[in-house]
Amino acid sequence: MEPEDKLVARWLDPLVTNLGDIAEVFIETRRRTVIEWRDGQAGEPRVSFEAGTSARLKRSGREKLAFVSGADELAIREAIRGLQASAAGAPSPARTSTARPEGAPDPTAERWVRRFPGILQRHAPRHRLRWTLEDVSRRVVPSGLPAAAWVRRLFSLEGTFVAASRRGDETRGFSFHAPEADSTADELKQALTSAAAPRERPAPFGSASADVLLSSGTAAILFHEILSHALEADAEESPLSRLTAARLSVSDLEVRDDPTRLDLFGGYESDDEGSRPRPVKLLDAGRLAGKLLDRAHGGPRGSTGHGRRAGPGDAPLPRGSNTVVSAGGATTEEMTRRLGNGLWIDEIESGTVELSSGTFRLRYPRARRVRRGRFADEVGAGLLAGEILPALEAIEPMIGHEVRSCRSLAWCSRAGQVVAVGGAAPDVIVRRLSVRDR
């Protein structure tokens, strides 16, 4: 049985002795269903039901966290006890664990299992795809603040499929991540149709500096790496950390981190410290605008609701959520013409950033060469690289008018902690990036 929030808060209160101390209990239950789909056949189903509880105390530069499996009263008491042997007044475990029943059939999972064969048969009949449906429920009880709870249901389909192309069959990667909703099936079908479109034989690109048009929402991945990470409150080595309100890019560019966008993969109703999240402008009219704050770094301004954890066993860190770029006014044709000569990229597999050197990398599986504003030959897998400040300076002052969700942006790892992230962006042109084949 779960104790009342007020009771848990009372258990925490003796730990808080100084102004600015942070103490909280974090409880998570997670239900995950995974099925491997191979050519329309379901296999190796995996189901997990997990619960974990942690208690945290942060005082100045010192932090303690205690984690135990389970999410009942016993687990909460034990986590609080584990915080500090000297926790005067902290309760000792006295009752036995009683787990809540969770085994009721999940109609959503069953519905998807029935739908998949039809969807896959039509759009990608030969495939090796892993489908995951994950229900995450989190509850945070902070000392001195209201408790918060939220639930997310996340849908992922990723793997490979065989597509017919003009050069014969080819194996292509596929990655689709979205919050589970009524529109997910239609969006998935659209993504599969687009991924299975016929393609030309790719030509090598070589190694050169090139202008790049990031299409289909992929600019969100670039800005996730170079702005969201660089503006996390604890990113002291970031090249942006001491540039308050500096103009870094074109005035047409506005980028924000928006956890309140629940239609994107990284959204949430409360962060993992119990703070209500709010959108944070990272770049406002090209100027550096804000930072992503958790409670420890919030100071008098307070947290922006970006204190996030991978799970109950981890301490929260200031992290990004959904990177959203505001629309401009240009059509796709205008953007392609403006690009002139360069690369058009509508799929990015992964990205990394190293803040100390200010460098970033994005890996793409394929691209399309653009010559004199027109699509030319296909280009194979490659790597984009650049430095944060020069890349922001090199953004073209013409932004696409249609903002698209980037459904391949899903999981972000930092210091071994993996959190859900998402993004949406219009078409964006970046000049003079370093490009090479992979």
Binding site: T33, I35, R38, Q41, A42, G43, E44, P45, R46, V47, S48, F49, E50, A51, G52, G61, R62, E63, K64, L65, A66, F67, V68, S69, G70, E78, G82, S97, A99, P101, E102, G103, P105, D106, A109, E110, V113, E237, G313, A315, T352, E354, L355, S356, S357, G358, R361, A415, G416, R438
Partner: protein, 419 residues
């Protein structure tokens, strides 16, 4: 898992899959200290996890954070579709180690000492930015329908450290993972961090296009980890010629006998020579891959977590160094080349297409002497050619958690094109 409390789970599984089930329980306690110059986090974790696999019209897997949750997950997984798959022969040994019950001590407080060493070795150009050290004890218990009853206890002390190098306005970060099986080896970690954080700030790149390549043990281990799927995947990529997999200087072994007597499925641990003097002679098997290949299991069913089913993989993979020479001797053999000290990006391999790419920072070597640091270089090409060009191995083998222990010495590779 012994005792009355667990009796109902075997009964539940036996009803679902008579004679074809496995039950796993893991208990772990860890103490971790994440330290920077300004802050310190102490984390204590006590985790319990249960998992079950059973074959009933196909393989199914369920896990939970307690017995009740596992039972519920089993019910749910039983309702989902599964492909037909034959039941492998399950092991039936009895090997129950007594539990030590010893408390887990906090990891040693070595931030200050390591920071000092990093500063000394980098001549003040690099600082230790963070150190996360974790000490833990794990008890794993496995039962199955064939009568297996096993309990294995293991301990570890591992960590990750990060240093930042600065020279004028330029900065660079180096990160190293390590695992200490005995006393903390701060000197090796500090050297690796200092070099990794300062070499990329060198004013010059490489000035010659071709030569020999000396791989530091950490770089060689990263390469070995990247190619290790070749030792358990099936089918083998077409470019692999078993008898000429690598040069005769390379012998690769997996032997986790010192770590645990059984693997994650209850099969006895054994020493397996995977590559013998360049010839690929064996494959690492778990129960399922052994059954499908018609071969005996080799004790390589690994469970990175109770959340995932066991799979074939290396447990303690290393390059044999019995025929090795000293690292200094290898250095002397290099007429012109590079000593790759640290990778600057994850080693990339495309095993299907026989491709690899290593980006690294290091030191130029001329006439057997280390010269100046080079900011960065890259080697790429056919993996098959790279493996054939391994000319010699040294005796300075070190193990790195990637994430299982991977051991490699300094390697000398000849006739390499640099980019």
């Amino acid at each position: 898992m012994s005792g009355d409390r667990a009796q109902d789970l075997p009964a539940l599984l036996e009803r679902r899959a008579p004679g074809a089930w496995e039950l796993y329980r893991k208990r772990a306690e860890t103490r971790e200290a994440d330290v920077t110059a300004q802050s310190r986090s102490d984390l204590w974790r006590r985790e319990e996890g249960w998992a079950a696999r059973w074959w009933a019209g196909g393989l199914r897997f369920a896990c939970g954070s307690d017995r009740t949750k596992l039972a519920q997950a089993i019910e749910r997984a039983s309702d989902l579709p599964a492909r037909e798959e034959p039941v492998p022969r399950l092991p039936s040994v009895e090997a129950v180690q007594p539990e030590s019950g010893a408390p887990v001590d906090p990891p040693p407080d070595v931030f200050g000492r390591l920071a000092q060493l990093v500063a000394e070795k980098s001549r003040g150009e690099a600082v230790l930015a963070s150190l996360a050290l974790r000490r833990g004890r794990t008890v794993e218990e496995i039962r199955n329908s064939a009568g297996l009853s096993a309990r294995v206890e293991s301990g570890r002390l591992d960590g990750v450290a990060r240093a930042v190098g600065r020279r004028a306005s330029r900065g660079c970060e180096a990160r190293t993972v390590f695992r200490w099986d005995s006393e903390p080896d701060l000197d090796a970690v500090a050297s690796r961090l200092a070099d990794g954080a300062t070499f990329p700030l060198a004013p010059h790149g490489l000035s010659f296009p071709r030569g020999s390549l000396l791989l530091d043990p950490s770089v060689a281990a990263a390469l070995l980890a990247a190619i290790s799927p070749l030792f358990w995947t099936h089918p083998m990529p077409r470019w692999v010629k078993r008898s000429e997999f690598a040069s005769r200087a390379l012998t690769i072994v997996d032997d986790a006998s010192a770590d645990a007597p059984l693997d994650g499925e209850g099969t006895r641990t054994q020493r397996v020579v995977v590559v013998n003097e360049g010839a690929l002679v064996a494959r690492l098997h778990d129960l399922r891959s052994a059954a499908s290949a018609g071969e005996p299991p080799t004790g390589h069913g690994v469970r990175p977590s109770y959340r995932t089913p066991p799979r074939a993989g290396p447990r303690r993979l290393f390059i044999e160094t019995a025929q090795g020479v000293s690292p200094l001797e290898l250095l002397k053999r290099v007429a012109r080349g590079v000593f790759a000290r640290a990778v600057t990006a994850p080693v990339f391999t495309d095993l299907e297409r026989d491709r690899y790419e290593i980006e690294f920072t290091g030191v130029a070597v001329l006439a057997g002497r280390a010269m100046e640091p080079i900011a960065g270089a890259r080697v790429s090409g056919r993996l098959s050619e790279l493996l054939q060009r391994v000319a010699a191995v040294a005796t300075d083998r070190q193990f790195f958690p990637i994430p299982d222990p991977i051991g490699a010495p300094t390697l000398l590779i000849e006739r390499v094109n640099f980019e």
